[in-house]
Amino acid sequence: MTARLVVDGLTVDVRTEHGTARVVDDVSFTVEPGECVAIVGESGAGKTLTARAVLGLLPRGATIVAGEVHWRDRDLARTDARSRRGMLGSEIAYVPQEPALDPVMRIGKQLVEAMRVHGVRAGDARRRAPGLLSAVGIADASRRLRSYPHQLSGGMQQRVMVALALANDPELVIADEPTTGLDVITQTQVLELLERLRHAEGRSLLLVTHDLGVVAGVADRVLVMYAGRIVEESRAEVLFARPRHPYTAGLLGAVPRLGDRRDALRAIPGAAPQPGRLPVGCVFHPRCRYAEPSCLVLAPRLDPVDADTRVACIRVDAIQDAVARWVQR
């Protein structure tokens, strides 16, 4: 039985030369068994750090200062290194942004090592390796097992990363921008692969991406992050059809469409705030076309507006029609 991932109030601080910056602020969400949840946002919105905090693999200088990450009977935010190691790769697996293969080790050896880490015997691991490569759509698996990483294309390397993540049959796969470095066709193939493996085995998938096309293709639920906070959470179809938060609307509006006659892209004005120098009140107010004086003082909470959607905006009711019209335009 696949477990449920519950993230509650996760807060991460990073130490910098200028002091401490809050890069993930009070983030709460769940990933239900078999569900695909996507975290979207601009670079620096805190989505990767959120994913890495769940894995317990924060970079040096970053620490979880508050919140809990429930998985099975454990709080991953507080578990010790040994029990985390036992869980990483076997219960929760990670697919990094770029293929991360050891250049001097053959593909087959790397697959076998990934399994041996979790107690699979060498002989059994070697027998299972070709099947893993076939499962991620790599032809001629037995020959590819003897290849070194540089002998494979980027797309093929990323498939190997997926195979590595699946080596111990994990229940939850956390994929951080798994398609960013790939061309469009390979992107689609890798996404289809993740999607197929999710449905076939009942795995959950937590997908971190800035690519709304990716989200639309595979996600059940979407979390939109801005400046370390979740500003909107909704079912994917609902979010795309009817964004509520002005930032979400801006993101969707910024995607150019085929046949669009306008010369300029509809960018969100301004730039994302620097961590540690966040605006007071609503973090998005300096860039928000609907901001009013109260937005400068009141920090909005992520509150449900209906059964599917939670939005962090104090004016969500007042502006919903205007936002909908703006997106349609």
Partner: protein, 306 residues
């Protein structure tokens, strides 16, 4: 062009560049100096181990033929006790080259272990290990070795046999314990950069233990510097052992080494040049060949040419 040949040879026409280590091997073989050095060192070693079988014993005295210059009978002359110098130089080479090999392997092993752990773990452990390493780097080798040699036989704990610090094995052990620090420094620097690479993070995310990440991912990437430093260690060991024995602190006679042959030559230097020249030449050739090998290794593993 070898890359083109590889492309032609590969079955489906995909260019498959040869892998890193094979490429390093190929570049080493293409380096004339390194190949000449390897051949020279190998020949020297074969001569030292096989040669004496066909010669007079290095300990057989002939008091009727003392201090004879090189001749057809004694190619490198005889010493003050009428012993055949060729035989003595070759047998001495067994000790000197054996010590060099043992020190290269042993000191590399210690240095690699310290360097990989310090570089990968970082933090306080790194600080402590590197302070110790720095302390070792500034330790003056000769006085330490002299003191060690004057201690003589030390008892080792447990089932280990007593170690004579003035024998070949003892000198090798002392040199090993003295010379690992440079390797540790170099390996640590490499390990620190390897630690930041994506595949190490991925291994951590896959639940690999630090020990296995160090052994399987970090250490293999430090192989180039380890080999280069290892060769330099071998050369350094030969020189240090010679110096030490020349000063009378190293391996004690009757076990001949190139260093104590030089020491023995000292008294008769004015009228028997061959006593000093041939052991000196042996040291020179051995060290020179090892340096060219080290150079070749460094070029072969140079990432800028990879």
């Amino acid at each position: 062009m070898s890359a083109v040949e590889d492309a032609i040879r590969s079955r489906d026409g995909i260019v498959e560049p040869p892998r890193t280590r094979a490429r390093a091997g190929r570049r080493f073989v293409a380096n004339r100096g390194a190949v000449a050095g390897s051949v020279l060192l190998f020949t020297l070693a074969i001569l030292c181990w096989v040669g004496p079988w066909f010669l007079e014993s290095p300990t057989s005295l002939d008091l009727d033929a003392t201090l004879e210059p090189p001749s057809a009978e004694h190619w490198l002359g005889t010493d003050a006790l009428g012993r055949d110098m060729l035989s003595r130089v070759l047998v001495a080479g067994r000790s000197s080259l054996g010590i060099a090999l043992a020190v290269a392997v042993g000191a590399s092993a210690i240095g690699t272990a310290v360097g990989v752990v310090a570089g990968y773990r970082g933090g306080m452990l790194d600080g402590i290990l590197m302070s110790v390493t720095d302390l070792w780097l500034v330790l003056p080798a000769l006085p330490v070795l002299a003191v060690a040699a004057s201690i003589g036989v030390v008892d080792l704990p447990g089932p280990l046999p007593a170690l004579d610090l003035s024998g070949s094995v003892g000198v090798a052990v002392v040199l090993m314990l003295l010379l690992w620090s440079v390797t540790a420094r170099v390996v640590r620097a490499t390990a620190r950069s390897v630690r930041e690479r994506a595949f190490v993070g991925a291994a951590r995310a896959a639940g690999a233990r630090p020990r296995s990440i160090m052994a399987r991912h970090v250490m293999p990437h430090c192989l180039g510097p380890i080999l280069v430093e290892g060769a330099l260690l071998a050369a350094g060991a030969i020189l240090l052992e010679s110096t030490l024995s020349f000063l009378g602190f190293g391996v004690q006679p009757p076990t001949p080494t190139w260093g104590n042959l030089l020491d023995g030559a000292l008294g008769n230097l004015q009228h028997a040049w061959w006593l000093a020249v041939f052991p000196g030449l042996a040291i020179f050739l051995a060290v020179l060949s090892i340096y060219t090998i080290s150079d070749g290794l460094r070029d072969a593993f140079d990432p800028r040419r990879a």
